[in-house]
Symmetry: C2
Subunit: 294 residues, 2 copies
């Protein structure tokens, strides 16, 4: 059992984490800090929350593990803010969906302390947000990527891997650059395409949407996500997203040429390759519920 877990900025993910730690008796004490006083009061009312601190500096006092659940652009500033207040040997992790920049900056920030940063990306977000949608089972069966740097202390990495695994997650460890390359392709690129398609159709006659079906609805569903949140993700992972876009563009231009030249062999081949990939996508999380993080 972990003596104290501190959750900074408990929204859907952070509050679900608190509930899950409590339900599985994994932490003796759970402390939170939230920017809004109302959220702190709400949290203090819940059975999983033992202490809602007034400041992040106070919240990390006594913590064995600190989990930063802010939007991606606020993670490194928060680590800088709490650095001097962390107990010796504390481990700081996060739930951000980009990792390269965060891992580098936060590791550097904590170099002068006896605490360690180990980045995490639990892939258990939802289109729902906020503490009131929190769910103790949010993490169960979902993938979690833990992204140490080469110099990160082994025991700290093992502790973070165990932390998520104890919540039922399927944990893999890989370097932050590889993480960002993968999510640029399997998460950020699909989001960008859904947004571009939706934005483009938004320039057309408004009546057209009445003639669309579930195909368009599914293809564009993630475009309904928060623009501010996604802008931050694209900012943090700009270079990898650009590379993923280039790969997509090469394939798209090849299909476009094939259509223009009536090269139906190439068109059919692309449709078949697309089907082959889609048919193999494991439906592990097709439970009708949560979707991919952010």
């Amino acid at each position: 059992m972990i003596s104290q877990v501190t959750i900074i900025a408990p929204g859907l993910l952070g509050a679900s984490l608190g509930k899950a730690l409590h339900a599985n008796q994994l932490a003796e004490r759970i402390t939170i800090w939230a920017r809004r006083a109302e959220t702190r009061l709400d949290a203090a009312d819940q059975d999983w929350c033992h202490n809602a601190a007034e400041t992040p500096e106070c919240a990390v006092a006594g913590a064995r593990i600190v989990v930063i659940c802010t939007p991606v652009e606020a993670i490194a500033p928060m680590v800088a803010r709490i650095a001097a207040h962390l107990p010796d040997d504390a481990i700081v992790t996060d739930v951000g969906s980009t990792k390269s920049l965060i891992a580098r900056v936060c590791t550097q920030t904590l170099q002068a302390t006896a605490a360690t940063f180990v980045g995490s990306h639990p892939m258990a977000g939802s289109e729902k947000t906020g503490m009131r949608n929190a769910d103790a089972d949010l993490f169960r069966g979902k993938p979690c990527l833990v992204t140490p740097l080469p110099e990160t202390s082994e025991p700290a990495v093992r502790a973070v891997v165990a932390f998520w695994r104890n919540l039922g997650m399927e944990v893999a460890s890989l370097n932050p650059e590889k993480h960002d390359e993968i999510v640029a392709h399997v998460s950020h690129l699909p989001h960008v395409l859904a947004s571009v398609l939706s934005a483009q159709l938004g320039t057309r006659d408004a009546s057209w949407r009445h003639f669309s079906g579930n195909g368009l609805a599914d293809t564009t569903r993630i475009a309904a996500g928060s623009p501010a949140l996604w802008k931050s993700i694209l900012e943090q992972n700009r270079e990898e997203v650009l590379r993923a876009l280039d790969g997509f563009d090469t394939e798209l231009q090849s299909l476009r040429s094939a259509l223009a030249n009536e090269d139906w062999f190439t068109v059919l081949n692309l449709l078949e390759r697309g089907k082959a990939f889609r048919d193999k996508l494991t439906p592990v999380r097709r439970d009708g519920g949560p979707e991919h993080t952010p």
Copy 2:
């Protein structure tokens, strides 16, 4: 009540049509023809099917309305095959998801006869296929586009509009070129993008798919559709699909430049426009069941 409806090639749509006509007592007699003898035998066993003819020429004898339910590339050849055997004043329609080429060729084919062609696109397909998934309620509440040419006889158009409306469909009438432009954007373009994204991801490390979530699963779902069927649709609607791709590409390149130049105002604006369109997509057919035709 219609004296006789003949359904050529009853798969999911055609057999659902037979069931729906029977359940709503809209036809005195329903005759079918299917290419495979086994399908003809299966149909003959069902209470909605009064006659499973041995040839399409025999199947149309006595028909008031003939509905061609073959894949799009086989519709015009089938109309040519049955033309000389159609009763006077018979109306021929179809369920194809492209309309321009089909309406032009089929109208010309029937010019020498006393029968009339009026194209239809009931948007009530599903990823399920075949007679055994047929559902008498498949059409209820879904859109249907009826696509007469300027010279098509008014009474025939009214009869086809009434035919689909009596099955509970929301029928709109528009010219075949406009139909093809709209579906190129709201159906064929999303399909192409889902296929290109899937094909592209299929070239990457096979382990990556384990790190994806419901976002990718939804965005690529339609890429699992039949490559042969979709190749035919792209063949029939090639020019409009190319135009829709151009519009998409303009928007994509503008986002790409904004990302490359760190022009976050433009990125945020595009994400916001995408969300605005998606938020307004009417969830009329989000019943977890059928999707867009084909």
